[in-house]
């Protein structure tokens, strides 16, 4: 039976937090979440989080955008109605390619940027009217919070966290 109880340790300095994260990991406890008011450099490495793959998705979205641009303009300008507009050679896509490059470029960037942002929102579960998930309001200002799942080892863990320099340790029941 997995319990819903978690232990939350508050810190007031990012250096202390980093040290604490390393110590907790060294003691083989699984850190569920860390809440910080700003990006703490190296925190993801200290927590052992996997690298993000969002750059790879962006590259693929960019390829999609480029393909869309090429197919669209090839159809419109070359296949559907190859009109002579100001003497531009509309016989094949390659012949009129330079005129299409600005659009190809912009659509590549457009797709890569927007779809990547949307991917980010989806993966990090962010949208308007979403309920904020911060367990303690102070974590948006100047406190850092580490959350660890409890498995009947409350006292041991509490002592460990206090030793790492936590200014406050609380045990709460998570409802979800």
């Amino acid at each position: 039976m997995a319990s819903n109880k978690v232990i939350q340790a508050l810190y007031n300095d990012d250096d202390i937090l980093m040290k604490a994260v390393k110590e907790v990991r060294a003691a083989h406890h699984h850190i569920e979440e860390v809440y910080t008011p700003f990006p703490v450099h190296g925190l993801d490495k200290a927590m052992g989080l996997a690298d993000t793959r969002i750059a790879i998705t962006a590259f693929m979205y960019g390829c999609v955008g480029l393909t869309v641009a090429i197919l669209m303009m090839n159809y419109i300008m070359i296949e559907d109605w190859p009109q002579d507009i100001g003497g531009k050679p509309s016989f094949s896509y390659m012949q009129n390619l330079p005129a299409f490059v600005p659009i190809m470029f912009e659509l590549t960037v457009f797709f890569a940027a927007h779809l990547m942002v949307i991917t980010f929102y989806l993966r990090s579960r962010m949208w308007p009217f979403k309920n904020a998930e911060n367990p303690d309001k102070r974590t948006t200002d100047d406190h850092f919070l580490m959350e660890i799942g409890l498995h009947d080892n409350e006292d041991e863990l509490k002592q460990l966290l206090l030793d790492t320099g936590a200014v406050e340790v609380t045990i709460t029941e998570k409802e979800d």
Partner: protein, 453 residues
């Protein structure tokens, strides 16, 4: 740590110089010495068993005249009269005679351009007070040492052109100017002695900054305060102003004036991008080489990552400028401008389009991944390809104007690369042995040591 020039590299550079000289000599000796000889050479080349070459030749002829309708006035239409044949033979003779000179000039300019690009990068790092690069300053100073012999050689080639030893710059030929209304209009700027005076000022200014900055940089090592560093900062900022103006004018003088009927406002930037990316690539290659020999223990992956990012970014910047120049001219298709690209697309299809693949598509795909930018052999391989791509870029800027469709890639071209490559390596690595490879006292040195991305 002081660098010792490895014997193998030194001997290698001497061999390259020797073989290069030999190849260049072969190039010069195999150039025709008279119009008759040139005619013969073209004739034998054409009867080399190609069946339908006669036809090809006649089409070649017509486009020649359209492409170069600047050089010889529109007597193109009067078919193949006697006078035209003679003019054509003279034209072909000039082109064949230009080939070894152009090959020499392209290679001399290319290696000079690398060290000038590094000098600009170095000055930018000093003026911007970059925190990551001080560990690499000695390497950059080593590369910019080539600006002295390289600049003098380029200057000598230009001087020989002014003295009519070759026919690289048509506008230097008084007979041509006499019959060319457009060139007469440009006489105020394009006249041989003003040209050579400008070249002397540019090269003198660049060499002066290089020597002053190097001296201040070395003085800073043993100083007890930062006054040398501050002076260097001011000199670098002033140099950048001078550089932007002189580099732009240099590109009009030394390259754009090879096609004196053509002009492009973007040209200075375009040449700058080419030299900048080649320079940064050379810094990366030499840094990796020195590091692999254990001479730069404090240079880490992040420094290389930064250099590779610059290679990636400036490659794209170069493409942006190349394309902007090309597309604007292609789109508007104004005859006086578009001949520039018509000659290149008709006679130089492979080097012209191949250079785009080497300088844009390849670095774009290869250097996009963050992890690959930290793999040494990967950066070296890409760097060599980028450098070759930019050699081709200079080749494409110079050759169509001087040798037209009589281009090739043989003894003189390879000889030029070998000779100047060898000289470059010899000068750069000799300078690197002169001083400690790590500066001792720079306000940003510790930051550079700790640099981590």
């Amino acid at each position: 740590m002081k660098y010792t020039f490895s014997n193998r590299l030194k001997i290698g550079s001497f061999i390259a110089m020797g073989v290069g000289l030999l190849f260049l000599a072969i190039g010069f000796l195999s150039a025709p010495s008279s119009v008759e000889e040139a005619k013969e050479m073209v004739a034998t080349a054409h009867s080399d068993g190609h069946g339908g070459h006669g036809e090809a030749h006649s089409t070649e002829n017509t486009h020649h005249v359209t492409a170069e309708n600047g050089h010889d006035e529109p007597h193109a239409t009067e078919a193949h009269g006697e006078s035209h044949d003679a003019a054509h033979d003279k034209h072909v003779y000039d082109q064949l005679k230009n080939r070894p000179w152009s090959a020499l000039y392209v290679a001399a300019f290319f290696f000079f351009m690398i060290s000038l690009g590094v000098l600009a990068f170095y000055a930018i790092n000093r003026a911007a007070q970059a925190g990551w690069s001080p560990l690499l300053f000695r390497v950059m100073e080593g590369i910019t040492a080539y600006i002295v012999p390289g600049g003098i050689i380029v200057f000598l080639i230009l001087l020989l052109s002014v003295l009519h030893m070759n026919h690289l710059f048509v506008w230097m030929d008084a007979d041509v100017v006499e019959h060319d209304y457009l060139l007469q209009g440009k006489k105020g700027y394009l006249n041989p002695w003003f040209f050579i005076a400008r070249a002397a000022i540019f090269i003198g200014g660049w060499i002066a900054y290089r020597q002053i900055s190097r001296k201040l940089s070395l003085a800073q090592d043993n100083a007890s305060d930062d006054s040398n560093f501050k002076k260097n900062f001011k000199w670098s900022a002033a140099f950048l102003v001078f550089y932007l103006i002189s580099e732009s004018m240099m590109s009009w003088d030394w390259i754009m004036s090879l096609d004196p009927h053509w002009f492009s406002t973007l040209f200075g930037w375009y040449v700058f991008a080419s030299m900048f990316v080649s320079g940064i690539t050379t810094i990366a290659i030499i840094t990796i080489y020195l590091k692999s020999k254990g001479y730069l223990p404090e240079v880490n992956d992040s420094h290389l990552h930064d250099l590779a990012k610059f290679m990636f970014g400036i490659s794209i910047f170069w493409t942006y400028l190349w394309f902007s120049q090309f597309m604007l001219i292609w789109y508007a298709n104004i005859p006086e401008e578009v001949t520039y690209f018509v000659t290149r697309l008709e006679d130089y299809k492979l080097p012209f389009l191949g250079m785009l693949v080497l300088n844009f598509i390849f670095p774009l795909l290869v250097l996009m991944n963050s992890d690959y930018k930290r793999i040494n052999w990967f950066v070296i391989m890409t760097g060599i390809i980028i450098l070759f791509g930019h050699y081709l870029d200079v080749y494409n800027m110079v050759m169509p104007a001087t040798v037209g469709d009589k281009w090739g890639f043989g003894f003189p071209e390879i000889g030029g690369i070998l000779f100047f490559g060898g000289l470059f390596i010899y000068v750069v690595f000799t300078t690197l042995t002169k001083e400690e490879l790590t500066p001792k006292r720079n306000p940003f040195l510790e930051e550079s040591r700790q640099f981590h991305y």
